[in-house]
Symmetry: C2
Subunit: 378 residues, 2 copies
């Protein structure tokens, strides 16, 4: 398996990104991912009980459609807390795109990221679609990456290629923040395209495992968005023997895991106002769930994150956060090792002295910059 | 029932506070509350699984002793994560005080607040005890209040008197912040003295109800301390018919509830770096538990708290926090009313349109001051 830089897309995929006017900055705000042939699709969505309109529509299409051919994403507006009208807007944007691409509406997924509680300007999206479609290209992924950004400071892409059963299989993933830099731009979106031939069951299993150890192991401020989505499209054009289990699935899962983990780390690196990238390893736990929950509890401690910002090696913050995690932990079992706080990368290791499981969580420090960014918006 | 300002203590109680040298600032750091006769005691402790040494000793004494005669509290050091030695130190401080007061060691409770993970300088406490005991006074409560402060900016006391069955009953409560202003000074301590005659069962029930709607309904940063304690001592010297149920218990519970709620609000007002006092009412919920959990989820949202600091009336933050609370809530059920953010007191009302229960939670805004305070310490 190797990482590929500035690759073209996996076979059969095209992408594009344009500015349609949703962002006042006139920056790109409308992205399209397209696959021919239509692709198998698996997705993980936010567990927030308030779900944005495009997710409601996308879930319906994922259920009814056999395969997915296009993914439309806008930034600048989350189309969330917009009621029935918001769902109609999401449906309408699918209809416009279906007509332009001459494909079934139900083979389109739609997503949005930006401000919560404001109607989407659907006329601007309609107007942008012809240019978006005509510009679709094998080389368009960089434009798509930029068009899904809200307050991210850099575009996020990871590409990997590997051999499965003698055939070259490629994966390309793109993601945006949880930059959360301006209010309600808290969304984490990730889209992964692959030309692998794989069964739906295997793809879903592989995605669940990858997300559990990547996007579910990062925390910027413990706030969960209404639009979070991780989507993988597999169009099978690599021509490999279909992946369902064994070494093929293992290799594919490793590659998908790498793409997700790299993108998740990029999101933490781009966290609002952050000056430190913090890796928290909890080891010698009874099981992965315990280790991860304890690590996330530390990652979400405002006191710990403030101390790291101040380069203040105070392990009392860690002790209190571990103890508050809900698991019975004896003081005598707890070993804490905090690396140098002078560096940009900080490593904390917490050993529980009672099992063999471990988990790694990534987070950033809490800084006056974070508050400034989230306070100043109107 | 009436609130009393600058009262003397309820009958039978004395208090004092001195500086014994634990704080480098030479400010008062050793407090004593004393009751003659010995008092019935009920306490609520932190649910953090890492528990400070004095709490381990106090729990033992509460179990074995019939009644409690003295409470010794030091600030400047939490005596937590100090292992067996820390427990010995807490035991030793009880022994010194028992000898000086000529009372049973098991009738003494002990508490500490300050830095986690450093041995307590027990010699300083030993040296301070004679002066602490000789200065015990009916008027000493202001000295005790100051001696339990860590980084609180003002002492916290509430006194109430009421008539129960024709007799005047008095309650006096003191507390120290979750100021959390310097690292590991995150502890919330509250001690309430009353001369009421009351059964243990009634006192415990009354305290549970009061704490549930006061100290358990405030959040500064969602971080739970290893030393949190709320203690009530009832020495029965008011001579009222013993309170066990009915109107007497109702009146006493109302008074205890008021003392706890006023002290809890003071703690929020004194929160580190805070510029706003935020009241969050969640109403029309199915039950109190649901309403409170949703309110606390909003209170713990760094995004919401940053927005309030910036006087940025962005209800999208509230929507996302409500949805992330773990309860199924339909968008159409949710009504949000956010009062003016220009004031020092901010009120947020969230209606769930599905039941009759409600809860009120108090919190503060998240400010660069909070981070500065928690980052700069060594």
């Amino acid at each position: 398996m190797k990482k590929v830089l500035r690759t073209i897309l996996p076979a059969g995929f095209k992408a594009n990104g344009v500015a349609c006017g949703l962002k006042r900055s006139a920056k790109p705000d409308l992205a399209l991912l397209y696959s021919d042939p239509a692709a198998l699709a698996c997705a993980k969505f936010t567990t927030n009980s308030i779900i944005a309109a495009p997710l409601i529509v996308s879930k319906k299409h994922l259920k009814s459609a056999g395969k997915i051919q296009a993914v439309l994403v806008n930034s600048g507006n989350a189309n969330c807390f917009t009621g029935k009208a918001g769902i109609n807007d999401a449906e309408a944007s699918c209809s416009y795109l279906a007509a332009e691409l001459k494909i079934a509406k139900s083979s389109i997924l739609v997503n949005s990221t930006g401000i919560i509680g404001k109607r989407l300007d659907i006329a601007k999206i309609k107007q942008g679609i012809p240019k978006l479609v005509s510009g679709l290209s094998l080389f368009g992924i960089q434009r798509a990456e930029k068009a899904i950004m809200t307050t991210d400071t850099f575009p996020k892409e990871v590409s990997v290629s590997l051999k499965i059963g003698g055939k070259i299989v490629r994966l390309c993933g793109i993601a945006k923040g949880a930059g959360m830099i301006a209010p309600d731009m808290a969304t984490m979106l990730c889209f992964i395209m692959t030309d692998a031939r794989i069964t739906k069951q295997a793809l879903n299993k592989s995605l669940s495992a990858a997300v559990d150890k990547s996007f579910n192991c990062i925390s910027v401020d413990g706030c969960m968005s209404t639009n979070d989505t991780v989507l993988v499209l597999a169009n099978g054009t690599a021509g490999n023997n279909i992946i369902s289990k064994g070494k093929g699935l293992q290799d594919f899962s490793e590659a998908l895991g790498l793409v997700c983990l790299d993108l998740a780390r990029m999101i933490v690196r781009d966290a609002e106002g952050a000056t430190k990238f913090i890796q928290i390893d909890v080891c010698q736990a009874d099981n992965f769930h315990e280790a991860k929950k304890i690590a996330l509890n530390i990652a979400n401690s405002a006191l710990f994150k403030s101390a790291v910002f101040g380069e203040n090696p105070n392990f009392g913050r860690v002790v209190a956060a571990v103890g508050a995690s809900g698991f019975k932990i004896k003081e005598s079992q707890l070993k804490i090792k905090l690396g140098s706080l002078k560096e940009k990368q900080v490593k904390l290791t917490v050993s529980l002295s009672r099992g063999k499981a471990s988990a790694t969580v990534y987070t950033s420090d809490l800084t006056p910059g974070y508050i400034k960014i989230n306070a100043q918006y109107n």
